[in-house]
C-alpha cells in the first residue's frame, strides 16, 4: 500500500505564516491555557492510575491537546460530540472538571455515576454529549443533531481510525447532501490502537470529503491554525478538518512508546516566548497544574469521606 501518512505528517502541514503573531495576546494565552489545563489533567490522570486511585480504563490525549484547544476557540456555543479520547475536548469546551474527576474515581457524582470511566464523559447542559464506546458512533448521532435544527452548530470529533467506519463515511455524505450545520474534525494521530494508517487504507479523509462536496482542509495541529480554520469554516458548514497530531502515551492506560513525531506543546511554548509571552505562559502553566492538583485533592477527599 502507498503510505497516506507521508509526506503529510509534518508539524507544518498547511501552515499559514504570521497567524499566531496576528492574534491578540489575550486570545493566544487563553488558547494556551486550555492546552495547559488539558495536559495537566491527563498527566494527573496518568499518575492517579499508576497510584491505583483511578481503576477504570483511561484514554489519555497528552500530545493532542492543541486540537481541542484550537477548536474550542473557534466553535464556542456548539454541540460537541467526541469519542473515547475526550478529556481535552471536554475541558476545552467548558465541561465541569469535578464531574469528570468524579467519574474517573467511580463516584456517584461523576458525569455517568462511575458507569463509564473515560469514554462517555459528558456535560449535556454545556453542550458536551456523551459517547457510548463504539468508535465513530457519535458521528451519525451528531449529524442527526444537526438535522434537528437546534439553532446551534454541531462539532463532532473522531479519530483517523473512526473515519473508516461505514457510518462515519455515510454521515459525511448525508451532511454534504443536506448542507447541514456540522463541522467534522478528525483528530489524526495516524493510529488505530497501534495499527498505523498505512496498514489500513490509502485514501485521505479531506479528499473524500471534497468528493462528497464539502470544504475540507488537512492541517497540522498548530492550535492557531486549528482555531483559524474552525472560525473560517463555521460560516461555511458542512466542512471537514483533518488535523495531524501525535499521541504520547499508549492507546489505553499509562504506558509510552517514546516521544511523538513532534511535541506541539513545547512548540507552542517556544512560539509564545518568541512573541514576548514567555512569562505569562509559564504562569498559566503553573496555575493550570495547581488548579488541577487542587481539584483532584478535593475530590479524593470527598471520595474518602463518603
Amino acid at each position: 500500500m502507498s503510505d497516506p501518512s507521508s509526506p503529510d505528517r509534518t508539524p507544518d502541514l498547511g501552515a499559514i505564516a504570521g497567524l499566531a503573531e496576528a492574534e491578540a495576546a489575550s486570545q493566544s494565552l487563553e488558547l494556551f491555557r486550555r492546552m495547559a489545563v488539558a495536559r495537566a489533567f491527563d498527566e494527573h490522570v496518568r499518575r492517579a492510575q499508576m497510584a491505583g486511585e483511578v481503576r477504570t480504563l483511561v484514554y489519555l490525549g497528552v500530545g493532542q491537546e492543541a486540537v481541542a484547544a484550537g477548536l474550542s476557540m473557534g466553535a464556542e456555543g456548539s454541540w460537541v460530540l467526541g469519542q473515547h479520547r475526550g478529556h481535552a475536548l471536554y475541558l476545552s469546551f467548558g465541561g465541569r472538571i469535578e464531574r469528570v474527576i468524579d467519574e474517573l474515581l467511580g463516584m456517584p457524582s461523576g458525569c455517568c455515576g462511575g458507569m463509564g470511566g473515560s469514554p462517555p464523559i459528558h456535560d449535556f447542559e454545556r453542550g458536551i454529549v456523551g459517547h457510548n464506546g463504539l468508535i465513530g458512533d457519535q458521528v451519525p448521532v451528531a449529524v442527526g443533531m444537526a438535522m434537528g435544527g437546534t439553532n446551534r452548530p454541531v462539532v463532532t470529533v473522531f479519530g483517523d481510525g473512526a473515519a473508516e467506519e461505514d457510518y462515519v463515511l455515510t454521515s459525511l455524505g448525508t451532511a454534504a447532501s443536506r448542507r447541514l450545520p456540522i463541522l467534522f474534525v478528525c483528530e489524526d494521530n495516524d493510529l488505530s490502537v497501534l495499527t498505523p494508517t498505512r496498514d489500513r487504507r490509502t485514501w485521505k479523509l479531506a479528499e473524500v470529503a471534497r468528493g462528497f462536496g464539502m470544504e475540507a482542509v488537512d492541517i497540522a495541529d498548530d492550535p492557531w491554525l486549528v482555531a483559524h480554520w474552525t472560525t473560517a469554516l463555521m460560516d461555511r458548514l458542512p466542512a471537514v478538518i483533518n488535523v495531524r497530531t501525535c499521541r504520547e502515551y499508549w492507546h489505553v492506560g499509562t504506558g509510552s512508546d517514546g516521544p511523538g513525531e513532534w511535541n506541539r506543546y513545547e512548540m507552542v511554548k517556544s512560539r509564545l516566548a518568541a512573541m514576548g509571552l514567555g512569562d505569562e505562559s509559564r504562569r498559566i502553566e503553573r496555575e493550570a497544574a495547581q488548579m488541577v492538583e487542587a481539584r483532584w485533592t478535593e475530590r479524593l477527599q470527598i471520595r474518602s469521606a463518603s
Binding site: L57, G114, E165
Partner: protein, 300 residues
C-alpha cells in the same frame, strides 16, 4: 498438557491458512499481541481490515462465497451489534435463500471486568441463537476448540463461536461431574463453567452434592443421554450462563432440558443492569457464591 486455548486457536488458524487457503480477517490483528496470541504472527492469510464494523463482516461473507473459509475476528462482542447483519441475514440464510452455502467462522470474543464498562462487556450469543441457519457454540478448552474447528471444516454452515478471554490461558479439559448421590444437576455455559466448578466444590463442602454438565454447543442443542440422565435422576436442574436472562441462552436451554426430561430446570444469568466501568458497578459472570446460593434456594 501445556497447550492453552489461545495456542490451540493460533495453531488451528495457522494450519487453516497453510492447508486450506484459509484466511483470517479483522481489525488491529497484527499490532498489540496478535489478539492475545490467538492469531499466527504472519502476513500470509491475515487480512488487516480498516475500522469498518459493518462492511467488515460483509467482506467476510464475500470471502466465504469465494471459497476461502474465512475466520472473522470480533475483538469485543459489543461490535457484533454492528457486524451482525451480514452474518445473520446473508451467511446464515444463504443455503435456504440462494441454495449455496456461506461457511464463515465468527470468533466473537467476550470480555468482562477491568473497566470494560457498559458497552464492551459480555457475550451476546443469545441473540445469534435466535436466528435460524447459524450454529452457536462456546468452547472453553483446547479439545473443545479443536472439535469446533473440525465441525467448521466438515460442514458448510457459518458458525458463531462465542469465546471468552477468561478461557485463553486455560489448558485443562473440563470433565462433567456426575454422582449417584447428587441432588441437583447444574448445566454451565462459557465462563460460568469455571465458576460453576468452584460452586460445586463449595457446595460439596457443605454436604450438598451436585452434578455438573458442561455445555459447548448451544445451537443446535441436542443433549445426549449422558447429559440428560443426571437431570432425570436428580429431578431438578439449573442452567447458568453469563448473558442476560430474558430471551437468553440459559432460559432457552433450560426449557429444552425441561421438555426433554419433564423435570424442573431453572435459569440463571447476569443481573438485569448494564455493567459499570468502575469495579463496584461491574456485573460479572455469576460467581461461585451466587450459583451456590441459587442452588440452595432451589433445594429449599
Amino acid at each position: 498438557m501445556d497447550r492453552t486455548v489461545a495456542d490451540t486457536i493460533r495453531e488451528l488458524t495457522r494450519r487453516h491458512i497453510a492447508d486450506h487457503n484459509g484466511v483470517v480477517v479483522g481489525q488491529c490483528l497484527s499490532a498489540v499481541g496478535w489478539v492475545q496470541n490467538t492469531v499466527p504472527a504472519q502476513t500470509e492469510g491475515v487480512v488487516e481490515l480498516p475500522m469498518t464494523d459493518i462492511a467488515g463482516s460483509g467482506f467476510a461473507v464475500g470471502l466465504a462465497l469465494a471459497g476461502r473459509r474465512p475466520v472473522l475476528v470480533i475483538r469485543f462482542q459489543s461490535f457484533l451489534w454492528l457486524n451482525a447483519s451480514p452474518i445473520v441475514n446473508y451467511a446464515a440464510k444463504s443455503k435456504e435463500m440462494f441454495g449455496y452455502p456461506c461457511p464463515l467462522l465468527v470468533r466473537a470474543i467476550a470480555s468482562e471486568g477491568g473497566g470494560t464498562g457498559p458497552v464492551h462487556s459480555h457475550a451476546y450469543h443469545s441473540m445469534f441463537m435466535h436466528m435460524p441457519g447459524l450454529p452457536v457454540c462456546a468452547p472453553m478448552t483446547p479439545g473443545e476448540y479443536e472439535q469446533v474447528w473440525e465441525r467448521y471444516l466438515s460442514h458448510d454452515d457459518p458458525l458463531l463461536v462465542s469465546e471468552h478471554r477468561a478461557s485463553y490461558k486455560n489448558n485443562r479439559e473440563l470433565p462433567d461431574i456426575v454422582r449417584d448421590d447428587a441432588v441437583v444437576t447444574l448445566y454451565a455455559v462459557g465462563p460460568a463453567r469455571f465458576t460453576a466448578e468452584q460452586a460445586v466444590a463449595d457446595l460439596a463442602d457443605r454436604g450438598i452434592v451436585c452434578n455438573l454438565i458442561h455445555l459447548v454447543w448451544l445451537k443446535p442443542f441436542a443433549p445426549s443421554p449422558a447429559q440428560l440422565d443426571p437431570l432425570r435422576a436428580t429431578g431438578r436442574g439449573l442452567v447458568v450462563d453469563a448473558t442476560y436472562e430474558t430471551c437468553g441462552a440459559a432460559r432457552s436451554l433450560a426449557y429444552d432440558l425441561s421438555q426433554a426430561t419433564g423435570r424442573m430446570v431453572a435459569a440463571m444469568g447476569l443481573e438485569e443492569r448494564s455493567p459499570g466501568a468502575s469495579p463496584h458497578l461491574d456485573n460479572l459472570t455469576p460467581s461461585a457464591e451466587r450459583i451456590a446460593a441459587r442452588i440452595e434456594a432451589l433445594l429449599r
